[in-house]
Amino acid sequence: MTDPVLSIRNLTVEIPTRRGLFRPVENVSYDLRPGEIRGVVGESGAGKSMTGNAVIGLLDPPAHIAEGEIWLKGRRIDHLGAEDKRAIRGKEIGMIFQDPLTSLNPLFTVGEQLVETIQLHLKVSSDEARERAIALLDRVSIPNPAERFNQYPHQFSGGMRQRVVIALALCSDPSVIVADEPTTALDVSIQAQVLDLIKELAAERQVGVILVTHDMGVIADTTEEVTVMYAGKVVESGKTDRILGAPEHEYTRSLISAVPRPHVKLKRFPQVSYGGRETEFKIEDLARNWPKPEASSSGKLLEVKEITKQFVAKSSIIPSWNSYLTAVDHVSFDIRDGEVFGLVGESGSGKSTVARMIATLYGVDGGRILFDGEDMTAMDAEGIARYRRQIQMIFQDPFSSLNPRMTVADIVAEPLLHLGILPKADAKLRVRELLDRVGLAKDAWRKYPHEFSGGQRQRISIARALATQPRFLICDEPTSALDVSIQAQILNILKDLQEHLGLTMLFISHDLPVVRQMCDRVGVMKQGQLLELQETQALFDAPQHPYTRELLSLMPRLEQLPG
């Protein structure tokens, strides 16, 4: 075994706050060997990024290293001064951050940024630096590197930008790279390419990589060793295969059980119970007062016929000179009573636009939407008002979907009161019941949204959507902003809604394993078009369209996970 290039010993980071001392990282130790990729996995707030920042010497004050040691190639670096740390950063330790948009300077060409970084660390002439830079761009598989050298970051796509960031990190031949969620902002197809690149480079240049991520799929595909963190502490550390296949610690087990499996559909997600999280909900109890799901006349609650949406890309004084961008292009599907219908696609595929058109948040530029046999696109405002209570929506971002200046009780009661469904006193009771059923504490109603975590806010969102006892629920990426264990809880609630209340759902996601777990039928969208529509089982077993096959092949393989 080679000596570790980096070793962290009993690292503790402290942040003094007005509420007392906060320890985001506590007693963390691990080693990194040359050419090894070590995954650091955990949920938000687990301290995984903070560990990375401590290694780079980029802790935001007042956070500081309180205890422990960091050794880089036999030299202790944790107690160095700011000047020495800066010399190490970039030269010995490269960095790749989550958002490729913000880690490149938009005012300089990619080439200038590379040359500057190379000359900062290595004593070479401008021409030599330029050659090196082009070679690096070539190495990270950027086509036409000599041409691309003179372009600005905005001329690169997200995935290409992240490649440039990787090239930047490699400029000075570092011995360690800290990659903090390097693929979280990217689409799946790009994610796979970027991870492959990191893997190749680590092996080729014998660079040790610390890969910080929340994604078990990334860990399974990319890393050899993994460290699992929870609440600032390391709960388990070892070979990736061993940890994923036979986790020893209770938390690791609960984390792995919450990961949606791509190959089998489970009735419910296994209950994740760690750290005092209570996960029993009582959606069943809602069923008692819930109106029996009416059957629609045709058996199809929603029929979408050839809908089209165009956005003005460039507006002009003369309307006919406007140029348009077609976000949704003649999409047709129908959703049967009590069915969960999935729409998948990468960002920009138009799936959210479809949802918003059905929710009447966007107008329709062509085609018809029939709800229970009636054409919503031909209705006037009054006609639509009758359907308001039957169609509800759960949004992606739990931090922007609740008005921060309203109490939770007011938020959930608003649809009831506005649509005049219940008088005030009854609405109050309904609100409390709903909040209780989605698993919130007894006094949640009088608090404001900022007092809740992302998962709890999404429960509030669900309560609001259920307040009017709708027949149809639109879920627009309801869990993509959440940690995996919280995702499992929210998805369980949604599954319960369908099972016990007979809700019909449109479920939009970019995450194939989640769709696999949730949906009865799935439509695949790309660039505004619906490419394929299949029963979920059939789609995953025998995809017809080449694009679907490509998407499926990029899905993280989690076969080593216990079923």
């Binding site: 169609i391 949004f395 008005n403 200046r405 504490a441 809740f452």
Partner: protein
């Protein structure tokens, strides 16, 4: 990075009595930041003292300077803290040419300054919020119209706009009402010259809030534009408005003083700080420095402390600067 939001605890572990409003207010981040900032505390203390002194002027003043019967011309030009040669009376800040006690006149003058300033800011704020919300939320030609008017107004110095409005208003009011109306015309003039920055900030904040999902959630249940603006967007755009309002208050007080100094503001019978400064500057070079010095220092203290308070508020409410 660090996620300091509450953890996902769904168990009913935090049920106690709800903390009282006062307790919550004292425990808030804003109150904490206030306690940590000596500048904020000193300027709050100074502004509060001055405002209270002005509001309760009759309690603190030794004479009523607006009551001609209480004046004694023999007391004119008494220097501070020296007995008058004729009457033997002594005044903390001296007297002016008509024998008015400068200290009492400042208290009453500050009353007018503060009233005009506050009313003008409220007026500007109301106008700016309404127009900013409409422009931001409705967009289209409404936005173009409002924001172009705002742009045009910004090309004139605001004091010119105020003087123009003041001049027009004075022209249309009958002579016998002019002195009574002067204060209200001042408020109108300063308010109208000041709404633009409120409108711009509110429009910007509205554009941000409009794109958030909670607005869509309200639209989804069929709420119309105006209720959404009032109930959902307005409360969320108020914190920047509060900051501008504080800073504008200081500016409005100065604007009022400027107008009064130029002789187009508060009449000499009802002197504001600006009028007092105008009166006092005539005596500066003849040795009666106190007639100018004390009103000017009061104006400085008032404007500076309110401004510093506004600065602190801006920093405390802006998480990016924290």
């Amino acid at each position: 990075m660090t996620d300091l939001t509450p953890t996902d605890q769904t168990s009913a572990d935090d049920q106690g009595p709800a903390p009282s409003r006062l307790h919550q207010a004292l425990d808030s981040d804003l109150a904490y930041s206030f306690r940590r900032s000596p500048v904020a505390m000193v300027s709050a203390a100074v502004s509060l003292t001055l405002i209270l002194a002005a509001v309760f002027a009759p309690l603190f003043a030794t004479t009523n300077p607006f009551d001609p019967a209480s004046l004694n011309l023999m007391n004119g030009f008494t220097p501070p803290l020296q007995p008058n040669a004729f009457t033997g009376e002594s005044f903390a800040m001296g007297t002016d040419d008509q024998g008015r006690d400068v200290y009492s006149t400042i208290l009453y003058g500050m009353r007018i300054s503060l009233f005009v300033g506050a009313a003008a800011v409220l007026f500007a704020m109301a106008l700016g919020i309404v127009l900013g919300l409409l422009a931001g939320y409705l967009g289209g030609w409404v936005e173009t119209l409002i924001m172009r008017v705002a742009d045009i107004q910004l090309t004139f110095p605001s004091i010119l706009v105020a003087m123009l409005i003041f001049g027009i208003a004075k022209g249309v009011t009958p002579v016998e009402y002019r002195d009574q109306m002067a204060i209200w015309v001042l408020i109108l003039a300063i308010g109208l010259s000041d709404w633009v920055q409120f409108a711009r900030v509110v429009r910007g904040a509205t554009l941000v809030e409009k794109s958030k999902d909670y607005v869509d959630a309200a639209r989804l249940i069929g709420r119309r534009a105006f209720p959404i603006m009032l109930r959902h967007i307005l409360p969320n755009v108020l914190s920047p408005v509060l900051v501008i309002a504080t800073i504008s208050l200081a500016l409005a007080i100065i604007a009022e003083a400027t107008l009064s100094f130029l002789g187009v503001g508060a009449p000499p019978t009802q002197p504001s700080l600006g009028t007092l400064i105008r009166i006092g500057q005539g005596f500066l070079f003849s040795g009666e420095w106190w007639i100018l010095f004390f009103p000017a220092s009061t104006l400085l203290a008032l404007a500076l402390s309110v401004n510093l308070l506004g600065d602190w508020l801006r920093d405390a409410l802006n998480p990016r600067l924290r």
